[in-house]
């Protein structure tokens, strides 16, 4: 087990270094804007006095590396400064929004991952059958359609015409979990439709890839039934690529939800990011970017560890 711990620690260290590099890029990308931040925030019409005042307020009179270290230090303690627009704490604004986004992502993940893997196993079992082709066409269609289009189609049929679920996923304080799940079902379903295809096809491909291996032939020659060959003899060896694709899609559920949030008026971090970009609220943009980057790195780390743990050679050393 010592091997695994050291591998995981190494990956974790690499993840932290990556995050540091990204933070540098995020911070200095803003510096690269033409003119300076004050000019960019206030626009062409601003007077010299206003600009000077804002520069002083933002501390732009000091050297960039110094400001970066200060920003990073504060960020580590959870303080991302104040919003330029609302003058309130960025951390507070992001906190509730990010929790909402996470809620939606977990909701979608809990449905999509088991469904995708189950379907993947089924289409691998009945490969090249009508069922395989239909599943292929349906999931490919759903992945090829833009999220907002899928969202509006679902609203049209399940909310407007059918009236089964609410079309707007606005959250109120003090809602019960059941209410919340009901209210956010359509955005979650939209996201499920977007991510299922990728994970399902990867499961199918990695299982089929292993069907030609000698131990699968051996299992067949031992009289093991077809479904058991897939579930017991190929799936345990097919996890590594599947886990990586799952992690990639989970990250997408958190960072790629802007359009879905807009369509369903859901108060998530994506909406906040879009607002901040249009209003040139840089502290908010930087904080959101850093959180997204950390999410990606963390999920990829989890995927790496997951694939390592599924390898019996590493779990049971000689």
């Amino acid at each position: 087990m010592g091997d695994i711990v050291s591998i995981v620690m190494k990956r974790l260290g690499l993840g932290l270094i990556t995050l540091l590099v990204i933070s540098i890029i995020i911070f200095f990308a803003v510096e690269l804007l033409p003119g300076d931040i004050a000019q960019a925030v206030l626009g062409q019409g601003a007077t010299e006095d206003n600009l000077a005042a804002l520069r002083k307020e933002l501390g732009l009179d000091r050297a960039a590396p110094v400001r970066y270290l200060e920003w990073l230090g504060n960020a580590l303690t959870g303080d991302f400064g104040n919003s330029l627009v609302s003058k309130t704490s960025v951390s507070e604004a992001i906190g509730t929004r990010f929790a909402n986004t996470l809620f939606l992502a977990v909701y979608a993940a809990v449905i999509s991952v088991p469904v995708a893997i189950f379907l993947g196993v089924l289409v691998a079992l009945f490969r090249n059958s009508v069922f395989d082709r239909v599943a292929n066409v349906v999931t490919l269609t759903s992945i090829s359609s833009p999220e907002f289009f899928l969202g509006y189609i679902l609203i049209l049929f399940l909310a407007v015409k059918g009236g089964y679920f609410p079309a707007i996923a606005k959250l109120d304080d003090g809602m019960s979990l059941i209410d919340k799940l009901n209210r956010t079902f359509l955005p979650a379903l939209t996201m499920v439709l977007v991510v299922v295809a990728h994970m399902m096809r990867m499961t199918r491909a990695s299982i089929i890839n292993l069907l030609a291996s000698p131990y699968v032939e051996m299992a067949r020659l031992k009289g093991v039934p077809a479904w058991k060959v897939i579930v017991k003899h190929t799936l345990p060896n097919a996890w590594a690529p599947v886990i990586n694709v799952v992690a990639l899609n989970l990250a997408y559920l958190i960072t790629g939800v802007v359009l879905v949030e807009v369509v369903f008026v859901y108060p998530g971090i994506g909406q906040l990011l879009v607002d901040a970009v249009t209003k040139r609220d840089f502290p908010v943009v930087q904080a959101c970017c850093l959180i997204f980057a950390a999410t990606f790195i963390l999920l990829n780390l989890a995927a790496d560890v997951g694939s390592i743990l599924t390898n019996p050679r590493l779990r049971h050393p000689k």
Partner: protein, 550 residues
């Protein structure tokens, strides 16, 4: 061998077709096979003879893309397998007919413990409960003389050695006490010393349970130990069938006779030149992969025009020595000399001329040649790189090299490796090494992936080239028959050390070093009593003597 004379398996006019280039092509063309209860039949032939295909067909199984042709009949104990529905066939497999594959390492699922894979079929057929089946597995492990029979099953495949895995697979095949087991080259991937253990274990257990078996192999000496009856196959047709002793003593067909004669090729041994410097000298070399040392104080010399065979089991460090000589793995201690001058340890620091002098030919010609590159380019590239040839001069050189390896330049110049047979690919590998005009060639198991007749052709070619071009060979092999036929000197390695070295005639005459003796005596001979006699000499207990419940 006790046999009652009931027929267990009766195959008539077996035709098997494979789908390729959009049409069905025959692989097996009407073979008959009759096997009695408790009888062991050896199926023998070169690759492409249809041995494995027939073995699988006896289970009513064909590989993907193959089918059993019309007019075939496979009668297993009164059941016609060609018309039996898949679900019924499935319940036959593992229960009444079992299979032992060539590579146990690849055929055990890496994700499950050995014993869980063992108990799978008995649980599937509800023959035994889990604990009962585990108990039975341990007993079989013990009968097959596996170490720690009560614990070994709880290990994963990668935690067990190749020879042990092969025995565990035989135990697995026995799990439901089948009437018939198909052994598909079960010892081909093993070292000679391990092979003996597996052969005797298989032979004993088949005998004890009076199981019928089809034993597929390309090794005549092995089949001579195992089979009651031998059937020789060639390109999907039967050549002849006879009981083992008469087949060995008196083969009828010309093809069978040629198979028997392969081991006759032998060239004269050359003495070591007395007054010259060795061409290649390995001096007190230590080497390691990462932190694990693999070579310890290895020294030997190779003189001009001579063939030095380096022999040993897998893991003995034979190929690592080659990597040190070519500079792919710089030694941690010691050095390699070329004509008395020291070679830089890392190939990146060697001059073009130093690199040119030592070339390699690899075991797997399939993977050593880029399948997307034309033959002319594969051979032309080193000629261009080392000799600076181009245009018509380069083409002439490639033609000349193709002539040397006895392939017609007009036919092969523009072809690609996948269009060639295994032996032809290995010839291209030889031509590629010759293109650099070396004085020294390392042959790393160059014939072990080839059929015996083809391998003999390659050995004769290498011998001819040595005489014409005055080449020196370092011949890495685990096959002592090859050593006997072409070596001048022999270096025996074990656990990364040289245990014995000397001229071939001396090495093959007793007294030997203990390990050399073990290697030499482990090479199967064509005498059907060889294994029995050997086991008696070594004092291995017969199966009946294995104490139970130890």
């Amino acid at each position: 061998m006790s046999q009652d004379k009931t027929v267990l398996l009766d195959i008539k006019n077996l035709i098997i077709e494979g789908y390729s280039d959009e049409k069905w092509v025959g692989i097996v063309h009407g073979v008959d096979l009759k096997l009695h209860r408790g009888e062991v039949m050896g199926l023998i032939g070169e690759s492409g003879a249809g041995k494995s295909t027939i073995g699988l067909a006896a289970m009513g199984f064909t590989k993907d893309g193959c089918r059993i042709g019309e007019g075939s009949s496979i009668d297993f104990d009164g059941m016609e397998l060609t018309t039996t529905p898949q679900s019924d066939l499935q319940s036959l497999r593992g229960a009444r007919i079992a299979y032992v594959a060539q590579s146990a390492a690849a055929s055990f699922n890496p994700a499950h413990k050995l014993i869980d894979q063992h108990t799978e079929a008995p649980l599937q057929y509800r023959i035994q409960k889990r604990l009962e089946s585990q108990e039975d597995a341990m007993e079989l492990y013990e009968r097959l003389r596996l170490p720690n029979p009560r614990e070994i099953g709880f290990r994963y495949p990668h935690q067990v050695s190749g020879g042990q895995l092969q025995r565990a697979m035989t135990a697995m095949a026995m799990a439901c006490r089948p009437d018939l087991i198909i052994f598909d080259e079960p010892t081909t991937a093993l070292d000679v010393t391990t092979q003996i253990e597996v052969l005797s274990a298989i032979r004993d257990i088949v005998d004890q349970f009076n199981t019928a078996a089809i034993y597929i192999t390309h090794d005549l000496a092995v089949v001579a130990q195992m089979a009651d009856v031998i059937k020789v196959l060639l390109k999907g047709n039967e050549v002849e069938e006879a009981d083992t002793r008469s087949m060995l003593a008196n083969p009828q067909d010309d093809y069978t006779k040629s198979l028997w004669a392969v081991r006759d090729f032998k060239r004269d041994q050359k003495p070591r030149p007395t007054d010259s410097v060795p061409l290649i000298s390995v001096k007190n070399v230590d080497a390691s992969y990462g932190d694990s040392p693999v070579l310890f104080d290895v020294s030997f010399d190779i003189y001009e025009g001579m063939t030095v065979a380096v022999v040993g089991e897998s893991g003995s460090g034979k190929s690592t020595v080659a990597r040190c000589i070519t500079g792919l793995l710089p030694p941690t201690k010691g050095e390699c000399l070329f004509q008395g001058t020291s070679l830089p340890p890392d190939y990146r620091n060697r001059s073009k001329d130093q690199l040119r002098q030592a070339q390699m030919i690899y075991q797997m010609a399939d993977t050593a040649l880029n399948p997307k590159v034309k033959i002319s380019e594969i051979i032309g590239r080193p000629a261009q790189f080392y000799s600076g040839l181009s245009g018509p001069a380069l083409k002439n050189r490639v033609d000349e090299l193709l002539d040397l390896i006895e392939l017609d330049p007009s036919q092969y110049y523009n072809r690609y490796p996948p269009e060639l047979s295994g032996g032809q690919k290995q010839r291209i590998g030889i031509a590629r090494s010759l293109a650099a005009e070396p004085t020294f060639i390392i042959c790393d198991e160059v014939t072990s992936a080839l059929d015996q007749l083809v391998a003999e052709g390659i050995l004769r070619l290498l011998d001819k080239l040595q005489n014409e071009l005055n080449l020196s060979y370092m011949f890495i092999t685990h096959d002592l028959a090859t050593v006997r036929s072409i070596a001048d000197e022999v270096v025996v390695m074990q656990y990364g050390k040289v245990v014995e070295q000397g001229p071939k005639d001396v090495m093959f005459t007793p007294p030997h070093h203990e390990y050399t003796d073990l290697l030499l005596s482990s090479v199967p001979e064509m005498d059907p009593d060889w294994l029995t006699t050997l086991l008696e000499e070594r004092g291995v207990d017969g199966p009946g003597d294995v104490a139970k419940g130890e």
